[in-house]
């Protein structure tokens, strides 16, 4: 099935959000996931099945900026 991830069309097998992140090598604790414009609560990653046409944005925590970080 076809979904959009970070603006790019991709074809994937039916997966949960959790499975999809793991398949991309992404630690789910390091990101926020926006599914069809709504931020998906972390507790729902394992129960949310991706559907045809879903638009996904995977946003990383980026915390650096000053000196020690």
């Amino acid at each position: 099935m076809n979904i959009t991830t970070n603006g790019e069309a991709v074809s994937i097998d039916p997966l949960t959000v959790q499975q999809y992140l793991v398949s991309l090598g992404i630690d789910p604790r390091r990101v926020a996931v926006e599914l069809n414009l709504d931020i998906l609560p972390k507790a729902q990653y394992e129960t949310t099945l991706l559907k045809e046409g879903d638009a996904l944005e995977i946003v990383h925590f980026v915390g650096g900026g000053a000196g020690r970080g």
């Binding site: 970070n6 603006g7 630690d27 604790r29 390091r30 926020a32 926006e34 414009l37 709504d38 931020i39 609560p41 944005e57 946003v59 990383h60 925590f61 980026v62 915390g63 650096g64 900026g65 000053a66 000196g67 020690r68 970080g69």
Partner: protein, 270 residues
């Protein structure tokens, strides 16, 4: 208040812009911006705000200049190693523009001190390097209804986002809670390409200037992300979240607290 002849000369390239003009330049001169962090992001932010003539600039950081900072923290120079960053920064800002009022805070921000600090300013810029400070700045600005610019950098990635509390989504609308401690590498462990804070910090300074001028579109409801390796900017549309723990329909955060799990910077500083 009128611009002096010297000011007309100094700011002539601003004054030529119809979006700025003499009136806009006076808004900048009367403007007050607080920069939290005098490091990678804070360097270009403070330099450009000083050059632009922002009349009062606060700068907060408890750190001292280290040799390993100089690859990216362009407000500091080799002879500054060992000096308090806020003092080193103030010297460079006043060298560019002696008519500024630069207020230094040689401290880390924490739940105790941030509210009184931000109260004196029109706009706040987050140039900090840890999630405890980033969430604290968001919370203090949302509760204090103070517009601010979020910025973050790591390795080749950067992101920035502007929050006008009440009007636009906040950082917790995207990230409700800080990440667990040690899950996200820091720049000191994972590295950062030296130009990156120049790019993101300059964008943040642009937001402060536009905010003071009251012109253009701020980065409201869109997280701008940048990857230097792919040389790609993206905008992630962000909605105000009804479930946001601080600006949502049923907020659970109603007062400031330090995010102990994310790193308590206050313990490092004093």
């Amino acid at each position: 208040m009128k611009l002096t002849e010297e000011q007309i000369n100094r700011y002539s390239r601003h004054i030529l812009l119809k979006e700025v003009g003499g009136k806009g330049q006076l808004k900048l001169i009367n403007g007050r911006v607080l920069v939290i962090g005098a490091g990678g992001l804070g360097s270009p932010i403070a330099l450009y705000l000083a050059a632009a003539g922002i009349g009062t600039i606060g700068i907060a950081d408890a750190d001292r200049v280290d040799l390993s900072n100089l690859q990216r923290q362009i407000i500091h120079s080799t002879p500054d190693v060992g000096k308090a960053k806020v003092l080193s920064a103030k010297e460079k800002m006043l060298a560019i523009n002696p008519e500024l009022n630069v207020v230094t805070y040689e401290t880390w921000v924490c739940a105790e001190n941030i509210q009184s600090m931000i109260a004196d300013y029109d706009f706040v810029i987050d140039g900090t390097d840890n999630f405890a400070a980033k969430f604290l700045i968001n919370d203090a600005c949302v509760l204090g209804r103070k517009p601010y610019s979020h910025g973050g950098i790591l390795q080749f990635d950067g992101q920035t986002f502007t929050v006008s509390p009440g009007e636009s989504p906040c950082y917790r609308c995207i990230f409700p809670e800080p990440p667990p401690k040690d899950v996200i590498p820091t720049c000191s462990r994972a590295g950062v390409i030296g130009v990156l804070p120049g790019i993101i910090g300059t964008l943040q300074a642009t937001e402060a200037i536009k905010f003071l001028l009251g012109t253009g579109d701020l980065l409201h409801g869109r997280l701008l992300t940048y990857n230097a390796l792919r040389m790609r900017f993206r905008e992630v549309p962000i909605r105000k979240s009804p479930k946001c723990p601080i600006c949502g329909d049923n907020p659970t955060i109603t007062e400031l607290k330090d995010e102990l799990d994310a790193l308590t910077v206050c313990d490092l500083g004093h």
